[in-house]
């Protein structure tokens, strides 16, 4: 089967900055694909290359098996939901949604009919005559979605589409977007800097750092088996032991360790047999309800955090901030890390 989108050794350079640095990957038709990374990591640059707002300096971008380097945005069967929604302020909601068919020469009655159907799909049927300025952020988001879907694109690009919404609305929209994607069977390419969003929605996630892909994997694998230090920290918020520190702890490779796998004890208590352990001083304890996050300054210099359940926390209640503790974990909980390609 031909990939919906394929990058072949694509680079895009702005002056000294390699925004996209020799990136290759393929996205399958119907896939929900997330591009995750901090700002300036190259994820939005990749999106712009797919949409056609920018052209690669080297390499090829293929849509449906065709090299599209010379194809302008208006001739690509790809639509975008913009971060700022980019709704036309001088048009009504209905005119905004009907814009795609309008510029393709679909006559008024038919395009308005289709626009109404799209507004129904995003549950905004009653608001067609409003102006974008009269809508809330969440409603504008839906209009942008309806407008981008009306051309029935093969690929929908979403550039941080939920970034401007508040938390509750964001969670609702995540569920809605995911079910919409399943219903329509369209390939979604979703750019975000929020790892929770990427993990909860995507079939596969590409983690970007400094213009390169650090790891491309399914969410569960990304979370449980991060390959590099960057992925371990950015995706899972994991603790990382550098090569030097790992050696002191009797491990040949640098490794990542999730907070929930760490057990906290008073320093004079021995670690269980077979477990690895290290000691340090408590910097802060943050209460999160079911768990508490214990930040510990290790004697090796690293700052780690351990998640302690309510139950275990009771036995630790005598330890003050600044007190000495021992952190231990089963050997198999540590995930070996490779050198970061972006480093």
């Amino acid at each position: 089967m031909t990939s919906a989108i394929e990058f072949r050794a694509v680079s895009r350079v702005f002056g000294e900055v390699r925004a996209v640095d020799d990136v290759s990957f393929a996205i399958e038709p119907g896939e929900f694909f997330a591009m995750l990374g901090p700002s300036g990591s190259g994820k939005t640059s990749c999106l712009r290359l797919v949409a056609g707002f920018d052209a690669p300096d080297r390499g090829e971008v293929l849509l449906d098996g065709q090299d599209v380097s010379a194809v302008p945005p208006y001739d690509r069967n790809v639509n975008t939901v913009f971060q700022d929604y980019a709704l036309f302020p001088h048009m009504t909601v209905l005119q905004n949604v009907a814009y795609g068919p309008r510029v393709k020469g679909v006559e008024r009655g038919e395009r308005e009919q289709r626009a109404r159907e799209m507004l129904e799909l995003v549950q905004l049927g009653a608001l067609g005559e409003r102006r974008p300025a009269q809508l809330s952020g969440g409603q504008r988001q839906r209009v942008a979605l309806a407008r981008a879907l009306i051309n029935r694109p093969k690929v929908l690009l979403l550039d941080e589409p939920l970034g401007a919404l508040d938390l509750k609305l964001r969670e609702e929209m995540q569920i809605e977007l995911k079910s919409l994607q399943k219903k329509l069977g369209i390939t979604f390419v979703y750019v975000t800097h929020d790892q929770g969003e990427a993990l909860s929605m995507a079939d596969r996630v590409a983690v970007f750092n400094k213009g390169k892909i650090e790891q491309l994997a399914a969410p569960r694998e990304l979370y449980t088996r991060p390959r590099t230090e960057f992925v371990a920290r950015f995706v899972g918020g994991a603790n990382v032991a550098s090569a030097a520190m790992a050696q002191q702890l009797g491990s040949s490779m640098p490794f990542a360790l999730r907070g929930e796998h760490i057990t906290v004890r008073a320093e004079n208590m021995p670690a269980p047999p077979g477990a690895l352990s290290t000691a340090g001083a408590v910097v802060a304890v943050q209460y999160h309800g079911a768990v508490s996050r214990w930040q510990v300054q290790l004697d090796t210099g690293a700052l780690w955090s351990a998640l302690v359940s309510e139950e275990d926390a009771r036995s630790l209640s005598g330890i003050p901030v600044g007190g000495r503790v021992r952190l231990s974990w089963p050997r198999e909980a540590a995930v070996d890390l490779a050198e970061s390609p972006g480093a």
Partner: protein
């Protein structure tokens, strides 16, 4: 009372602060500006006695009747209005590509260069520019000379032979006057237009292209409607400046009178203040009509 006490006083009385802020300019604006305007309007309802040449101070529409029934007066209004419309259209057509380039493409030094370039002529005396243009447009002037060198003299002659706009030379034709007007008011069109185009987010243009619009469609459906408030603002300048000007028509162009010259003559040598006042009401009415039309066409919807 020290400064801190004064600050506290105004902090607790925001209306007092607003009053302090607004009263002086409003007094100035209200009395000097609007007051004199109303005095002028009031005068237009007086009339001049034909025998004594004295102003008769009783309200009457006699002067307006004179304005709209005497063919010479109607000619002046039509001539001025036609020139204002032509100049406004020409300014809009020339300004649009320049403003588009300045707002959407020029960066850094190039942008500064264009903005300074547009504003630089406004730092020079208006009279100097008008007289300079008279020399440029004269029969022996540089434009005729260049046209001769390029073998385009026949084109220039054909233009000058055209009825209505032509004349013995560019500097004594309506065509020449039109050129000078367009030159003079062009910055007043470019700047508001560029400001309007600057405010259009780039993502709107990308969204348009993304949805399948070719560049010409994006321009027509997105850029132009969003530039309209700027075009409207600019055209109010070019339109009203042309309607009111009396220097350019008296230095360059054919001998026909324009509204501004008529006002100048009537209130000066002729001493017919009521007719001068009535003439100066004409641009106010025309601009009001123009704004009403612009509003009807949605020029201010995107504001």
């Amino acid at each position: 009372m020290n400064l801190r006490a004064a600050s506290t006083f105004f902090y607790r009385r925001p209306y007092g602060y607003l009053a302090l802020l607004l009263v002086p300019p409003l007094l100035w604006f209200g009395t000097v500006y609007l007051g004199s305007l109303f005095a002028l309007l009031w005068q237009s309802f007086y009339r001049i006695d034909d025998f004594t040449a004295q102003i008769v101070r009783e309200p009457t529409l006699e002067t307006y009747k004179q304005l709209v029934t005497q063919p010479a007066n109607v000619d002046i209004v039509v001539r001025t209005l036609t020139m204002a419309v032509a100049v406004t259209i020409a300014c809009a057509l020339i300004a649009l590509p320049i403003a588009t380039y300045m707002a959407r493409y020029a960066r850094g030094r190039m942008k500064a260069f264009f903005y300074v370039g547009v504003m630089l002529p406004m730092w020079t005396s208006y009279l100097v520019k008008v007289y300079a243009w008279r020399l440029l447009l004269a029969k022996e002037g540089i434009i005729a000379w260049v046209a001769g060198k390029l073998g385009l003299m026949s084109v220039l002659d054909a233009l000058l032979a055209a009825p209505g706009i032509g004349g013995p030379s560019l500097s004594t034709s309506y065509l020449g006057m039109f050129i000078v007007f367009t030159y003079m008011w062009l910055p007043f069109m470019i700047l508001p237009m560029a400001a309007a185009l600057e405010r259009v987010p780039g993502s709107l243009l990308q969204a348009s292209a993304d949805l399948g619009a070719r560049p010409a469609q994006t321009f027509r459906n997105v850029v132009l409607p969003l530039a309209v408030p700027g075009i409207a603002a600019g055209s109010v300048f070019t339109f009203s400046l042309t309607l009111g000007d009396y220097v350019i028509p008296s230095v360059v162009g054919a001998p026909g009178y324009f509204i501004g010259m008529m006002v100048y003559t009537q209130q000066g040598t002729a001493g017919n203040i009521p007719l001068a006042a009535a003439f100066s009401v004409v641009p106010i009415v025309l601009i009001s009509i123009y704004l009403a039309i612009a509003k009807r066409f949605g020029a201010f919807d995107a504001l």
